[in-house]
Symmetry: C2
Subunit: 305 residues, 2 copies
């Protein structure tokens, strides 16, 4: 299980509160379906890697945990929306996610499209509401980081490249470019957002110190983000559907390029451990306040699902 | 043609600059498709009613036009994304929009899903970048207005109700509830956003005056928003495909409830003119600085496409 202290319970509660209640809207037509599908798509499990990275980075920087709930929830909502759309028949056409039927199977395709749309909107809505302890300027920064990471220069670009790469031979460098956008951008954003969750009252000296730590954390985030994907590719081959909660071998079946398929399994595992070492080394400037970040890096390379 | 002064050219230029360039990204796979599809979906014509309402409201309040470009573009991007997704086969399944093939016909379904997603993200990204002359607090307000209006309590809810209403008998009140969300919410947001496009340096007296004008403008926006939809419903019956640029009779064919189908054509037209009068009356507190708002109300009830 992923190291989380109490943050896993915390993010579940935050998400539960943020998502619209069943039947809390007009109570007519399929407005209920929409709300129910939003809850179904987000609250149905998930490792919560991105929110945990927000909290763990906040811990490393001694930022009050209350300041972190909004960005932690927002990034998970963006991740959840991307999964709902990614699973659609015209995209990856997946039936199973987190051990459950995917949203378009449980409801229908139209509801799944709208659910993804609404989850994305909700993510940015959360960040537009006043956040205690965070200045308006820094809130705009959070919004800028998250929208940049998830849009046509980030996650969505990664998905477009992914779709186009199916059945084609690509080289390691291109594969990395794809993952840097598709998965890496949001993981990077999780860490980076946390570094802006304070009031803008820092003096020049403290800002300079924070900027230096931010650079270290960027290296951490990039290494961990890529490691996450390499591990994902390995699991697609070596795990089984029940453990994964999604269809094992799906990438292979869809002729998607993966690290093991391009560089071989041994080299892929070697790469994974190099990325882990890079992540740990990037945190040298931190003391035990960054232990959770270290534990998450450890988890990401060793996880079995 | 819609009254616009020079704002129509202005918004086209703003949108053209904001949208990612063809080939400006990685230049690989279908990342180009994504950018090209984004441009195709937004720059392919359109009346730009929502941006024009932003500019016209700003004019009524004597707000510098430079402050208005970002919200004007953002709301058009949200509108454009909703059309791309709404036209998908699993939704309204439309082939024609603004006289052109819809995005999923011109490209493919997966690209259309991603294009809509990226256009939504871009809308909020625009509003997260510093806007000259608008305070950070007011920028957050713009983001809050637009996300609230377009999410599961606004436009997306309207679309969910719309889908569920197909083939069912609903009453006028329910039809109005649907349109208030589906179309009305964004039109309301266009007007409301413009009222926050200033630095937060207003004194108490000026703020009080602005709040009072804001209430008048809310009434204007609600009346115009509903009138827009009533006119749309009438045009679906009385116009033709070439003039409309979208399939004439589509609502009728899809057994969608419309104002003429529920209350009869004569009553629908009567309602349209009542809404127009209400919109004009709501502007009584304004002088000629609100003439463009008045002209837009006039256009909306008389437009032929």
């Amino acid at each position: 299980m992923i190291p989380h202290k109490d943050y896993q319970d915390r993010i579940e509660q935050v998400l539960d509160q943020i998502l619209p209640d069943r039947g809390a809207t007009l109570g007519k037509a399929n407005s209920n379906n929409l709300n129910a599908a939003m809850r179904y798509s987000v609250l149905g499990g998930g490792k919560r890697v991105r929110p945990l990275l927000v909290y763990a980075t906040g811990e490393a920087l001694n930022i009050p945990v209350d300041n972190l709930d909004a960005p932690a929830a927002a990034i998970e909502l963006v991740h959840a929306y991307s999964l709902v759309h990614d699973d659609l028949p015209c995209m990856d056409d997946d039936d199973l996610r987190r051990g459950q039927a995917t949203t378009h199977i449980q409801y229908d395709e139209a509801t799944a499209v709208l659910t993804g749309d609404a989850l994305q909107t909700l993510a940015f809505n959360i960040l537009s509401q006043p956040i205690q302890g965070v200045s308006a300027e820094n809130q705009l920064k959070l919004l800028n980081i998250l929208t940049t990471a998830s849009g046509e220069k980030g996650m969505v670009l990664g998905q477009a490249i992914d779709l186009a790469a199916v059945g084609h031979f690509i080289e390691e460098q291109q594969l990395e470019e794809m993952h840097r956008h598709k998965t890496g951008a949001l993981i990077h954003a999780s860490v980076l957002m946390a570094t802006y969750c304070h009031a803008s009252q820092y003096g020049v000296e403290e800002e300079t110190r924070l900027e230096s730590l931010r650079e270290d954390l960027r290296i951490y985030a990039d290494a961990v983000g890529l490691a996450f994907q390499v591990r994902d590719d390995i699991l697609d081959i070596q795990s089984d559907t029940e453990t994964l909660g999604k269809t094992q071998g799906a990438d292979l079946a869809a002729e998607k390029p993966t690290y093991p398929s391009i560089m071989g399994m041994t080299a892929a595992k070697e790469k994974l451990y190099q990325l882990h070492d890079k992540a740990i080394y990037s945190l040298s400037g931190f003391g035990e306040e960054a232990d959770l970040l270290r534990e998450i890096a450890e988890f990401i390379v060793k996880r079995i699902k």
